[in-house]
């Protein structure tokens, strides 16, 4: 379907571009929001990205999916908009987790209420660095393959797998620390 609308837009019917906006705005917004952290900035960036995509639509060769090509524009636009240097993920030594009283983080997380889960994950994602948030969003939320993420971010596959593995580890440790902190608060 993308190819059909692409052809129509390239033939001069600009109104058909709304198909791409409707289809990709949600995910594009999620990606931009994960990088920028502010709703207004994410919205403006996605709008700019659509405009950039429209301007360079004739350069899209179709060697990859339109979504991959477009998300790459979104990622680049978002990264160029990040004003301040990214916050460094708080120091979390891998051995630190062994001291925690929460012995099964996954089970502890599953026992939480839906609202608590969302708050916990939001806090954890907020503590991750931009790159980790982006990779986790592309891989788990958008369900892009490693090859697609490699095209979107420009990272090579092996490097990407390693970064994804580390991001998952950091997420685990942050959630672990958050749960520990909550339990300590409850226990006084």
């Amino acid at each position: 379907m993308d190819e059909l609308y692409l052809r129509l837009v390239l033939e001069g019917d600009a109104s058909r571009f709304s198909y791409f906006i409707e289809k990709y705005k949600g995910m594009a917004y999620s990606i931009a929001y994960r990088i920028l952290g502010r709703r207004e900035d994410a919205e403006e960036t996605v709008q700019d990205a659509f405009l950039k995509a429209f301007r360079s639509l004739d350069k899209f060769r179709g060697s990859s999916k339109f979504s991959t090509w477009f998300y790459r524009i979104v990622v680049n636009s978002s990264l160029s908009r990040v004003r301040t240097p990214e916050t460094v993920t708080e120091s979390l030594d891998e051995n630190e987790t062994s001291e925690f009283i929460v012995d099964d983080v996954g089970s502890a997380y599953r026992r939480l209420e839906a609202v608590e889960k969302k708050e916990l994950v939001d806090r954890a994602l907020g503590k991750l660095n931009v790159e980790d948030r982006l990779l986790l969003t592309l891989y788990y939320l958008n369900e892009n393959s490693i090859e697609e993420i490699s095209e979107i971010t420009g990272m090579n596959r092996e490097n990407l797998k390693m970064k994804l593995h580390r991001a998952r580890g950091r997420m685990y440790r942050i959630i672990h620390a958050e749960l520990k902190s909550e339990i300590n608060t409850v226990l006084g």
């Binding site: 600009a14 109104s15 571009f17 709304s18 906006i21 409707e22 705005k25 949600g26 917004y29 999620s30 929001y33 709703r39 994410a42 919205e43 996605v46 709008q47 659509f50 405009l51 429209f54 301007r55 891998e94 987790t97 983080v105 996954g106 997380y109 599953r110 839906a114 889960k117 969302k118 994950v121 939001d122 954890a124 994602l125 986790l136 969003t137 788990y140 939320l141 593995h165 580390r166 998952r168 580890g169 997420m171 685990y172 440790r173 959630i175 672990h176």
Partner: protein, 128 residues
Amino acid sequence: MKEFDDELMRDMLMRSSVRLDNQEFTAATMKAISRESRRRRIVNSFMMNFLVFIAVDALIWLGISLTGSGVAGLVDGFVSGLNRLVFQAGQIKATVVGSDLVTYVVLIVGALAALLSVLELRIGSWER
């Protein structure tokens, strides 16, 4: 290194996903796209017309030089150039809604081209 399994990670990311609440987003973006599309059409149209105008003008001058047709050829050249400008202005009028910097630039260049055509005619008569 300890980490969550894929299923749990997906659950976490889904829970914290954000939604684009702005109902006007598509309309606002399409407005910007339409403006861009119109700007591109104007530039393309102007470039095409301007090139044709220059080409026609050059051909007529070449014709005058080769055949020595004098004032009659010169007047033909001017009328032909003027026709191109009128055609160009008509197209701009048809494609532009409201004021646009490109429109002004196009019209100024068009006016300069017309002035040059008149000057060409004057010089032609002085030479004669």
